[in-house]
Every structure is written in structure tokens, then in C-alpha cells.
């Protein structure tokens, strides 16, 4: 493979993978974007520090989480890194079990991760070790559920915290009206209702 056909992201991903060895997977590339999966949670900080200090990925542009409901491990935390000097993006992913929902916090490397990790904790329930202030950011403290998990219904569940807030089920009138792509006309694309089967 000649040098011109390697995208810059893939170049840095290869360097990072060679440096970090077995704790990173093979880089996966798609349309110029490159992702690496961190296979060992205890090495996450080391990988991130190497990416930041040695390779120059000095900006964490996004930190989010994915719920693969039904798969094991259930959650995945995704870090989008950007290098301001080389103008390249890199994506790191790490899988998190449902039972042992802990990931090392990268707040010590990028301060912006503070609120992003709080949002991941609030919405998914993934805890971050060594986080300076891990508490709910969008919902209120004492709210018992994690709303963006796939088994939490869109309309919400009734709760009541007397001096803080209450929630009720919102009337959905038949369900969230989401479209499904790929059908030839809009009548088939937009069903009346799409339900999600869950055990509750």
C-alpha cells in the first residue's frame, strides 16, 4: 500500500497501535475516519495519554456512549479525539460490561471530559473512576433511572421526589412515530407506531 492512499487518521492509528500493542485492536477505517477499540480498560489512560502527548491529539471533541441492548458487553464509551496541529480525527472505543460499569475517567487528560462523563453517567449509568464530581447533570439527583438506556421507555416512568421534582408518563397516543428507511414510499416508511418490546 503506497503512502498516498493511507488517510492521515489511519496513519496515526497505525502508529498508536504499534506503540500500544495488544491493548488496542486493529484500526477500522471507513470513509477516511479511523476507529480503534481499546481492549483493556486498565490501559485506557495510558493509550489516551500517548495519543495526546506523543501523537498530538490534544482535543477531546466528544465523549458519548452506546447501549447495545442484548449484547454482552452492553455499553460502549466512544472518545472522539482531534489533533489541532495535524487536523485529523481519531476515535477510540471501549466496551463496558453491565455488571461492572466502571471506566477510568480521562478528566485528568482533557478537562472537557468532566461534563461529558457526567452526562454519560446520568443517561447510561456508566461510572467513571477518579472523576472529580460524578453526579447527574441533566436529571436531578435522586432520579432512579437512566433514561437513554434502550429498555427505558420514551414516555418515562412515574417518580416522585417530594421537594425536588416529579415525573409522569407522557401520553404517547400510540407510540413514538419513527420512520424506517429503505421503503419505496412514505406510507411504508412512516408506520403509525413502532413499538419496542421490553420485559417491563
Amino acid at each position: 500500500m503506497s503512502n498516498e492512499s493511507i488517510s492521515p487518521a489511519r496513519k496515526y492509528a497505525d502508529i498508536l497501535q504499534e506503540a500500544m500493542g495488544s491493548s488496542l485492536s486493529e484500526p477500522m477505517e471507513f470513509r477516511g475516519e479511523c476507529s480503534l477499540t481499546v481492549l483493556d480498560a486498565s490501559k485506557l489512560l495510558e493509550v489516551c495519554r500517548h495519543a495526546r502527548d506523543v501523537l498530538g491529539f490534544d482535543m477531546l471533541t466528544d465523549l458519548s456512549s452506546v447501549d447495545h441492548y442484548g449484547s454482552d458487553p452492553r455499553f460502549e464509551v466512544v472518545y472522539e479525539l482531534y489533533s489541532m496541529n495535524h487536523h485529523t480525527y481519531l476515535r477510540l472505543k471501549i466496551s463496558v460490561d453491565e455488571e461492572d460499569c466502571e471506566v477510568p475517567s480521562v478528566t485528568s487528560l482533557w478537562r472537557t471530559a468532566d461534563w461529558h462523563e457526567r452526562e454519560v453517567y446520568d443517561m447510561m449509568g456508566v461510572r467513571f473512576t477518579d472523576h472529580p464530581d460524578l453526579r447527574r447533570i441533566l436529571m436531578w439527583e435522586g432520579y432512579p433511572y437512566f433514561p437513554l438506556r434502550k429498555d427505558f421507555p420514551l414516555e418515562g416512568k412515574p417518580t416522585d421526589l417530594p421537594d425536588t421534582a416529579f415525573t409522569d408518563k407522557a401520553p404517547l397516543e400510540g407510540g413514538p412515530f419513527v420512520t424506517s428507511g429503505g421503503k419505496p414510499d412514505s406510507t411504508q416508511r412512516e408506520p403509525r407506531a413502532k413499538t419496542f418490546e421490553n420485559e417491563d
Partner: protein, 186 residues
């Protein structure tokens, strides 16, 4: 004073510059022409509220350009925007701090019914926590719609019926048992 106000019973040619009227009528006339809004501007409807206050759609014509952001100094709370469950407590507290008589306009779809946000975090209508006098439809409602709501409220203020507490419209359903009432601040 125009001669069409029958409750005043004033005829300039006979009575000259002296008007004989009821105190209720005069007080209601004062109240309706100087409803000072407390803008509870939470989201996009607040922009239209600001537009209603600016020169093109002048809310000052109705005496309501004095947008006091303090509940102690206002008598009309305009809930303009999405009320989340997290914000509901603050909205209720502000409402409790307003002095009687007070009215509430629920501006826009989100304040009236929860709008397009049928979800776990959005209060489905601010009338679940405060009694609303006028609902304004729209997402966001045009400033003229807000002025129309203000005019309807003004008509309600001077209606022949005596004002009852809080100025709640007669057929309006009461809010649900006071879920945030523990925060009443006197």
C-alpha cells in the same frame, strides 16, 4: 374614557369632567391596562416574547412593556417555553412569590401541553403546576397571537364577574393536587 363603557355610565355633556363609577370597575381598568409581565422565558417562545415587546409588535400599547423579572413586582407570568420536570419547581416557586391578583399565560405548545416533547423529561403542560388563564397555541406563536392572548386576558379582567382568587377563569380545571406546594414561600 369612551362612552361605550356602559359600566361607567359617563356622558361628557351632562357630567363634565367628573366620572361616577364603581371602585371595582376602576380597579379592573387599572389592572387590565397595566399588566406587568413576569417573563418566564425558558426556550424559543421567549424570543417571540421579546419580539412582542419590541417596536414592531409593541406590547407597550397594552401597558405591558414593563417586563419585571421579579415576581414581587409583576402580576402576569408568561410561561414562554418548554417546562422540564427539573425546572417545574422553580416555576412553581416563582408563581408562589407573586402577589395576588395574578394571572398566567401559557405561551406556545410546550407550555400549554408539553408540545412536541412527549418524553420523560418534559412536563406535559404547565397547567399541571400553576393555574393558567390563557393558552396560546403556536410553535412559537406569532407576537400578534401573544397580544391577542393579552387582550383576551384583559377582557377577562374587566368582565362583570367579580374576580376570584388568582383570577382563575371560571371553567378552568384546577391544577392537580399540589405536588410542589411544599415550597410555598410567604
Amino acid at each position: 374614557m369612551t362612552s361605550s363603557q356602559t359600566e361607567v355610565g359617563y356622558n361628557t355633556k351632562i357630567e363634565g369632567d367628573v366620572i361616577v363609577t364603581k371602585i371595582d370597575s376602576v380597579l379592573n381598568w387599572f389592572r387590565k391596562n397595566s399588566l406587568w409581565p413576569m417573563p418566564m422565558g425558558l426556550a424559543c417562545c421567549a424570543i417571540e416574547l421579546m419580539a412582542a415587546g419590541s417596536s414592531r409588535f409593541d406590547i407597550a400599547r397594552f401597558g405591558a412593556e414593563v417586563m419585571r423579572f421579579s415576581p414581587r413586582q409583576s402580576d402576569l407570568m408568561v410561561v414562554a417555553g418548554t417546562v422540564t420536570y427539573k425546572m417545574a419547581l422553580a416555576v412553581r416557586r416563582i408563581y408562589d412569590q407573586m402577589a395576588e391578583p395574578k394571572w398566567v399565560i401559557a405561551m406556545g405548545a410546550c407550555a400549554s401541553t408539553g408540545g412536541m416533547y412527549r418524553s420523560y423529561s418534559v412536563l406535559q403542560g404547565v397547567d399541571k403546576i400553576v393555574p393558567v388563564s390563557v393558552y396560546v397555541a403556536g410553535c412559537p406563536p406569532r407576537p400578534e397571537a401573544l397580544l391577542d392572548a393579552l387582550m383576551k386576558l384583559q377582557n377577562n379582567v374587566v368582565s362583570k364577574e367579580p374576580l376570584f382568587e388568582g383570577g382563575i377563569l371560571k371553567n378552568h380545571k384546577q391544577p392537580q393536587p399540589d405536588r410542589l406546594a411544599g415550597q410555598r414561600v410567604s
